[in-house]
Structure formats: structure tokens, C-alpha cells
């Protein structure tokens, strides 16, 4: 066939799309702005619901890559143009390619928790994000808060940067609920004596075995779930975090001190997505996530023939959803290039 596809972004979506496209017989170039591929996954310690290690997951995905795939790392795409029936793609470092189809797999960026000022991230030492916690898990360091003490209580705040007009994010990030449950369990495994609380609005346990994990968190680990969105956190003299929340199921405001507060930072569109979409002339990117041609039927196609999307650049997804989406994108590309 010999048709050439450029995949932009070498996270799980880009890697899996490339692997699938190569298997289908296409020439694939995978462009990545960073020096190393793997996206957010390379920093993630373990994946829900099985606690599969992020490293292992990435290795398995990478193993599927055909040697024919050209991986162009450390290249930020600065030019992307549809010319007749092909595309020209160029990078900041002078790299340039022509392609018959383009797959955008630019992924997401983690919500910057500083923006949720009232939670004190970056101000109070013992307020960290879910990503920080994954790093802490991965480092294998003793589980102590930043004062060197084992926290007696750990709180998880759901929906940080998600479902929040105050930070202009209306969407649900989909994976934070289950991630919080997973991390809460991991914390409990490391600190069996700690009390762990999840402050949530809704528990969106949509995936296979998620609800079961949630039940396990309650049954086996006695993790407490308090329905109420965190209103603010402050620091007491000992560096504990005092949080205020309404226990909405009781209809009473509640104040509780935790030694460590973990913010479940949501997914936001990657900053590179919109510029790339603009270069192509994609219109449906109002919230920064690319709107596929149809959210039910054509989830990988866009309004421009030959331009495809896969993974979280079109909306929050779990790793497994991302991989499935990537494979589905490869088929959509194949379909397009064959016709």
C-alpha cells in the first residue's frame, strides 16, 4: 500500500495507533515533542482497577511497535497543513514530512491544581495532587507527609478542576473517581492505621470492576466516603490541613483535619491541541478537546477528511479506553485510505 500516516503525540494513544496502523501495513511516523515517548503513563505508578504497573503497561504497549515505525522525538509540530489530498507536517527543528492521513493523539494535560486556590496547592505543604501521589508511590519512599510524619488521616478531593465553572471546566474527567479509590486503597495498604476519606460529589464507577473496587475500599479498607465538595482548606499550626465540606447527606457542614490532602486533578485539553487544530482548520474545539465528527458513530473522524483523533485529545479517557480508541482510530484511517 505504502500510504503514509503521521501520528502526533507518542503517549499511549499515539503508540497504540501507530502500532495498529503498522500492522495494517501503513508507513507510520510518530512525532513526539518530548525526548521520550510514553506521555503521562510513564510517570504513573499503577493503573486501576488491577493495579497494573504503569511501567509494565507502557512496556507492553511499546513492545507492539513495529520496527518500521519512524519515531520522531523531541520534535514539536509547528506546521500542519492540508494540501489537496495530502498533508504536510513540519517540526520546529526543520523536520518535515508528507502524509496521507494525520492522527492527532495529543492527549491531555493535568489540571493545574494551583488554580483551585482555596485548596492551597503550592501553598500548604501537605496538599498534593494525585500525580504527586503516584510519584510518591513510584519512588518507593517511606510514606510520610512533608513534615516527615506518617499522616494519621488522608483526604482525597474528587473533581479538582473538573465539573467546575470557576475554572472553566464543565466536563467530568471520568477517571478521577476510580483513581481516588485506587489511591486510597494504596494509601491504606501502606498506612493501615490511617483514616482515609474521599470527598466526592458523585461516584462515577462506570467501568468493569470499578464498583467492586469501591466496595472493597469500603469493606476491606474502611475508607470513608463523604458526599460534599470541598469548600476550602487551611493549614493549622502543625501543618495539618483543615478542610471544610458539607456532609450533604446529613445536611451539616463538617470540619476535619487531615495530615495529607490529595487533590484528584482532572484532565484538561493539552495546550498543543488547539494550535494544531487551528493549523488544520478544525472548528469544533471550543473547550479545547477536539470534537469528533460524531460522538456516537464516528468517534475518530473529524470534520476534515484524513484528520483523525484518538485518545484523550477528544475527551477524558482511561488508559484502556484510550488504547481501544487508538485501535479504532487505526481502522478508521485504514478505511479512509483504502477508499
Amino acid at each position: 500500500m505504502g500510504k503514509h500516516v503521521v501520528v502526533i503525540g507518542a503517549g499511549p494513544a499515539g503508540l497504540e495507533t501507530s502500532a495498529s496502523l503498522a500492522k495494517l501495513g501503513f508507513h507510520v511516523t510518530l512525532v513526539e515533542k518530548e525526548d521520550v515517548s510514553g506521555g503521562h503513563l510513564k510517570k504513573w505508578h499503577a493503573l486501576f482497577p488491577t493495579l497494573l504497573s504503569g511501567k509494565d503497561a507502557l512496556e507492553t504497549i511499546t513492545k507492539g511497535l513495529d520496527s518500521s515505525i519512524k519515531i520522531q522525538t523531541a520534535t514539536k509540530v509547528t506546521g500542519l497543513e492540508a494540501v489537496n489530498d495530502y498533508f504536510t507536517i513540519s517540526g520546529h527543528n526543520g523536520w518535515q514530512e508528507k502524509a496521507d492521513a494525520v492522527v492527532l493523539t495529543t492527549g491531555f494535560q493535568l489540571f493545574d491544581s494551583h488554580r483551585k486556590e482555596e485548596y492551597g496547592y503550592g501553598i500548604y505543604e501537605n496538599v498534593i495532587t494525585s500525580a504527586d501521589l503516584e510519584e510518591l508511590f513510584a519512588s518507593g519512599k517511606a510514606f510520610v507527609n512533608r513534615h516527615g510524619n506518617k499522616p494519621e488521616r488522608v483526604g482525597f478531593v474528587h473533581c479538582v478542576g473538573s465539573r467546575d465553572e470557576k475554572v472553566n471546566n464543565l466536563h467530568c474527567s471520568k477517571v478521577c473517581c476510580i483513581t481516588a479509590v485506587k489511591q486510597a486503597i494504596e494509601v491504606k495498604q501502606l498506612l493501615p492505621d490511617a483514616e482515609v476519606f474521599c470527598f466526592y460529589m458523585d461516584l462515577r464507577m462506570f467501568g468493569r470492576h470499578y464498583e467492586e473496587l469501591y466496595k472493597e475500599a469500603q469493606e476491606k479498607y474502611n475508607i470513608q466516603f463523604i458526599r460534599g465538595r470541598l469548600s476550602e482548606s487551611t493549614e493549622d499550626r502543625d501543618g495539618n490541613i483543615v478542610v471544610k465540606v458539607e456532609d450533604t447527606l446529613l445536611g451539616k457542614p463538617l470540619r476535619i483535619k487531615v495530615g495529607l490532602l490529595v487533590l484528584m486533578a482532572g484532565m484538561e485539553p493539552a495546550p498543543d491541541t488547539k494550535p494544531l487544530a487551528n493549523m488544520l482548520g478544525l472548528k469544533n474545539v471550543s473547550d479545547g478537546f477536539i470534537q469528533p465528527l460524531d460522538e456516537v458513530l464516528h468517534t475518530n473522524s473529524t470534520e476534515i477528511p484524513g484528520v483523525f483523533v484518538a485518545g484523550t485529545c477528544s475527551g477524558p479517557k482511561s488508559v484502556s479506553d484510550t488504547l481501544a480508541d487508538a485501535r479504532s482510530a487505526a481502522l478508521a484511517v485504514a478505511d479512509y485510505l483504502k477508499s
Binding site: H114, E117, E118, G120, Y121, G122, I123, Y124, E125, E232, T234, E235, D236, R237, V242
Partner: protein, 358 residues
């Protein structure tokens, strides 16, 4: 606590504050309880900084307290505010400086409302014209008086005789800053430093040598709650709110509280008295209470103005221990005397709070 984190946030909440030519609107509560503070403000701006500040005689209350205790309808309040704007326009000013935080919040709210509902603005213009024959231009710059002091905090520091430093230890004084709720809780971008970590007073405290204390109930309302204080039956609420703050700040051993809202300093001052009388509990060192000041008073203090001229004697919590700490001289015998030294008698001594006189 990491200060860099706060600085990062403060960068996002800078606002433009006019440099000169202010139309000054006085505050009902400020002038009633701490008229010296307003006097200091005008004095510093005029005399020390050489600014032009118009002290308008025809303006009235913005009706804010009536509005927020819901006896005055929104349209009425908007029209009264429009009248203030008209007075400003007529006086040839475009920079509005409000002494009151409630007013400031209300002006902000009204301007925002008019922005979103231009038809409302048109209606209010009509009302105003019909009632008074006046017309107005919206202010080009709207600031709370504390914004202006914040803007010139370094100039004030440069001219100051004293610093917010314990003269005996050389250590900065521990200062609690209390921001009026309506300063930035409604419109975070209209306040310096935003709603969560307002910088307006912290900036002054830093510039004047003090150390800001962040305590868990820092953001809590003083408890005024308008109708919650105005009606005697509700005052328990008001008192309880302040108590919550005192209990929360107490372990940090603050030397003083600075506020930017007219009501808060009065409440935080008086409630310390009421709490001491009701439960025998006093805050601060040696049953002195924690002194509560307006930012204007503090500016006056460090500028070396006579404490009794700027009105520190009308605080129930005595200022003397703090003046001593900083090293500001004062004449005890003149504390409760009239302007020309005439005898006005003496307040009674409270049961628990320390009382200083001659």
C-alpha cells in the same frame, strides 16, 4: 506554608488603581465608629502624598446596609449609587474611592449588573433623572480606600517613623489581616490578591515591617451579617462568628488585627469585650485583648500621628500595649480628654479586659 505559592496567586490578581484625583465617598459605619480613620486617610493622601482627593459633601449612604438587610430594594440602591456617580461626574472626577467595603462591593456588583443587563442601567438612568434631574458617567476607576493605601504602601513606609516591629526583640509583629467579605469574595478579580489570599492588607503589613499570620478561620466573616447584628435577638450569631475567629487565631499569639472593612474592626473590637463579660474569656496577652485597627489607623500610627488624634482611644480593646511594643509615644493623661484638653469624664473599666487610663 509556602509564601511563593501565595505570590504566584497574587500575581494573578493585580488591579489597576488610579494614581491621583479621587472622589471620596464616606462610609456610614466608618465615620460613626472610627471617624479618625477617615481623617487619617484624607490627611495622608493630601498632606503626605500630595494627592487630590475630593471630599464630596452631597453624597449620602449608598444604602448598602439597608440593601443587605433587605429593606431597600435593588433598584433603589442602584439609583442612589447612580446619584453618587452623578455627583462624581459633576465634580469632574472619574476615579471613585469608597471608604466602605460594603459600598465597594455594591458598586462592583452594580457595575457588573449593568454590564450584563444594559437595559437595567438605562432604567436606572431614567429613575435618577426623574428623581433628581442628574446624569452620570460611570467611574473610570473604582477603588476601595484600602486599595489606594496599598498602592502607596511603600511611599508610606518610606515616610513612616515606626515599623510594625517589636522594638524590644526586633522581631516583626504578628499581624492578623481581616478582609471585609464584600471586598473580593463576590468578584475576586476586583480585589488585590483575589478572594482566597487577598493581598491588600498583607501587602501593607509586609511593607510596614510586620508578619502576616495565616490561621484556619482567616476567611471567616466577622459575623456582622447585617440583620444578624442589627436585631438584638440575632446578635448571638454575630458574636459566635467572631468568637470562632478569635479561637482560631489565638494559638498564633497575634499582636494585632488589621481590617479593611468599616464594620469588622468595630465588631472584632466590641465582641472581645462582650465575650469577656459573658464568659470571662480574654484573648491576647495579659487580658489586654487583641487590638483591632483599621488600616488607616495603622498607617497613621507608623507615620507618628498622635494616637488620640487618630482615634485609638475609641477602641474598647486598649491600644497602649501595642504602642509600647512598637515604641510609639503617647500621653496617657490626654486619652479621654477633649480636643483642647477639656475633661470628658472616663469610661467605666470592663470586668475582664484591661483598661488603661492615666
Amino acid at each position: 506554608m509556602k509564601l511563593e505559592g501565595k505570590r504566584l496567586i497574587w500575581q494573578d490578581y493585580q488591579k489597576e488603581i488610579a494614581d491621583d484625583h479621587y472622589f471620596y465617598a464616606r462610609s456610614c459605619i466608618r465615620q460613626t465608629f472610627f471617624p479618625g480613620a477617615e481623617a487619617v486617610f484624607v490627611k495622608i493622601l493630601k498632606d503626605e502624598l500630595g494627592k487630590d482627593i475630593h471630599d464630596e459633601q452631597h453624597h449620602t449612604s449608598c444604602t448598602g446596609i439597608g440593601y443587605h438587610s433587605d429593606v431597600v430594594p435593588f433598584d433603589t440602591t442602584m439609583t442612589v449609587v447612580a446619584r453618587q456617580f452623578a455627583l462624581m461626574t459633576e465634580a469632574g472626577y472619574e476615579n471613585y474611592a469608597a471608604s466602605c467595603v460594603t459600598s465597594f462591593g455594591l458598586y462592583t456588583e452594580i457595575l457588573d449588573t449593568w454590564h450584563h443587563f444594559p437595559e437595567k442601567e438605562a432604567q436606572i438612568r431614567e429613575y435618577l433623572f426623574k428623581a433628581t434631574g442628574r446624569e452620570f458617567t460611570k467611574p473610570k476607576n473604582l477603588a476601595h480606600a484600602s486599595d489606594i493605601v496599598y498602592k502607596f504602601r511603600h511611599q508610606i513606609a518610606a515616610k513612616a517613623k515606626y515599623k510594625l516591629v517589636d522594638k524590644n526583640t526586633g522581631k516583626p509583629l504578628k499581624v492578623v489581616e481581616h478582609i471585609g467579605c464584600h471586598y473580593s469574595k463576590m468578584f475576586p478579580h476586583k480585589g488585590i490578591g483575589g478572594a482566597e489570599y487577598p493581598y491588600v492588607l498583607s501587602g501593607m503589613i509586609e511593607a510596614w515591617g510586620g508578619e502576616v499570620i495565616d490561621y484556619p478561620e482567616r476567611r471567616h466573616c466577622c459575623g456582622f451579617g447585617f440583620r444578624q447584628y442589627l436585631v438584638q435577638a440575632n446578635r448571638g450569631f454575630s458574636l459566635s462568628c467572631s468568637k470562632k475567629k478569635f479561637e482560631s487565631m489565638e494559638p498564633y499569639e497575634p499582636d494585632m488585627i488589621i481590617t479593611n472593612c468599616p464594620g469588622c474592626p468595630m465588631f472584632l473590637d466590641r465582641w472581645q469585650y462582650a465575650l469577656s463579660e459573658m464568659e470571662g474569656k480574654t484573648y491576647g496577652e495579659n487580658h489586654n485583648g487583641i487590638p483591632v485597627f483599621t488600616y488607616e489607623e495603622v498607617a497613621g500610627m507608623i507615620m507618628g500621628y498622635d494616637p488620640w488624634e487618630i482615634g485609638l482611644q475609641v477602641h474598647q480593646v486598649p491600644a497602649e500595649p501595642l504602642l509600647d511594643k512598637i515604641g510609639i509615644p503617647y500621653d496617657s493623661s490626654r486619652k479621654f480628654k477633649g480636643k483642647n484638653g477639656e475633661d470628658l469624664g472616663m469610661p467605666e473599666s470592663p470586668s475582664y479586659l484591661k483598661f488603661y487610663s492615666e
